[in-house]
Symmetry: C2
Subunit: 343 residues, 2 copies
Amino acid sequence: MSSRRWQPIAAISRRPLGQTGAVQLVTLDDIRAAAELIRPYIVRTPLVPAGWADDERPLWIKPESLQQIGAFKVRGAFNAIANLDESVRTRGVVAYSSGNHAQAVAYAAAIYGVPAHIVMPRETPDIKVAATRSHGAEVVLCGAGEREKVAAQLVEQTGGILVPPFDHRDIIAGQGTIGLEIAEDLPDVATVLVPWGGGGLACGIATALREAAPQARILAAEVSTAAPYAASLAAGAPATVISAPSFVDGIGGPTVFADMFAHATELGIGSRVASVDEVGAAVRLLVERAKTVAEGAGATPVACALADRGNGTAQPKGPVVCVVSGGVIDLPKLVALLSGPDR
Amino acid sequence: MSSRRWQPIAAISRRPLGQTGAVQLVTLDDIRAAAELIRPYIVRTPLVPAGWADDERPLWIKPESLQQIGAFKVRGAFNAIANLDESVRTRGVVAYSSGNHAQAVAYAAAIYGVPAHIVMPRETPDIKVAATRSHGAEVVLCGAGEREKVAAQLVEQTGGILVPPFDHRDIIAGQGTIGLEIAEDLPDVATVLVPWGGGGLACGIATALREAAPQARILAAEVSTAAPYAASLAAGAPATVISAPSFVDGIGGPTVFADMFAHATELGIGSRVASVDEVGAAVRLLVERAKTVAEGAGATPVACALADRGNGTAQPKGPVVCVVSGGVIDLPKLVALLSGPDR
């Protein structure tokens, strides 16, 4: 353990609202309000029993892959946009993302009938650019490392509001509605495994469950090629890792944002890491046994749960929920994973 | 149209209960009672919006593939077994099936802790036999065309109760709970497309919707290689067709049971037929766009809905629901379908 100590969350939560990057502690009430606001627009996903679990730790899947855009990101995007004053919202929204957040903001803006400008890196796959445009958003392509700058310029030019990808309380509260649903469906849940991307999903779910199912432990699931939250926990402070590319995109950036780390440790979020091969096997298992298409990030919690079982470490008894965060995976990549263990 | 007239359902519904093959008209109350009984054991599947729909006919998927055994059959099996007197149920159950009904009865019997004997044709794929055994059922393999006879012998020997695959009011009422859920989630549904196998699923759903969403039209979806309901409607009486094998198993037997035809026509169930290629394309589309693994039968309603759109026939406006009845498909078969249009 490093002797470095991270700034406690209390200090962060006193920062003024609206300050860039400031994460306020989200409350259960925020999440309940989000659930009401977004209900008409999202799929209330069920818990799906995974027949391959062991009897003492029944395994459940929460397939957020079934959301309109194929991923949970619609929950936060709708909550953020719904919470804007109408006079502000009509000016439109701006977001930067190479992934599911882009489509989520574009989709939510279309439902609200407001303009959306989405900044995407030039190397974003055409299919994701096309999907974002299909919701009527204006896509602005930019060079590597420029997306935040370009987004800021668009905010300046259009008067639109920036919808950040995860580091905002409305986003975190929206994602947290998943935790409320888990507590409703399975009040005695013992363990919840959540993909760790930016941390908004894990923090939102942990906040909901801290009050709604306090016995549950929350584990952030990462892939070994890029596991900054595990490294940060080990270091006791936000750490940067060398992140190797793999088919598991959507999670595994090189760093953990300082505010998100503070939030996550305050919530007691633990850590699990699976290998790329284990994640690939989990993608296959989810198709075969749960009839669910998961992207690498979405399958990572299942990979971690199975690794926990396999490595003989004693785990608490009781129901396990794996949040399958999304299913946005290219067909050729999926076919390759389904075709065998050699990828 | 043939001049032959089919015996009206009124005559059939006066047959004594329990007579072999007799289908009593199921009521909405039967279905509501079934919903209460089976609630703890089934997945309350959501409606999933299909982004590829046209604006005037939004398309929704009901993914019954997410049920424990990968198919809707658990609903009817649980309702049938739950409705037995406990003194009768403890004697165990018997069923014959080469498909999802086998696993459904085995699974429900295991949950109730009663013995299950399942008769399966010797040519049933090993994977399905193994899945049925995995729930603790005793599988009895038999020769072609012998399964009903062997099941009757087992009933004689074990004192168990036969759980028929579709032609029983408890089965139909159980499957009908899908219709209740559709009406709850989408009260203004205009069209519901349902795979036609034995007819229990379509009749159950139509019964629920006749009262709970009376504006909805119900269409039985079949594949052109074996479409006995379409042929029967054209003939005005139960017809037998030459059924060519294809990857679309689970639906498409050669005949329509007389009682089921009477029930279905009484309920005004219409007909749609898709080609095998259209069904294959629908399997691919469901994976790509709805992140859902469907077997051929499960994808057939989507294939029919898309064919309706494509062929220029004017269809009523309003929401369309496609019941994706199951996702039990071998991985190599799925990979072949996902790999391209040439199968």
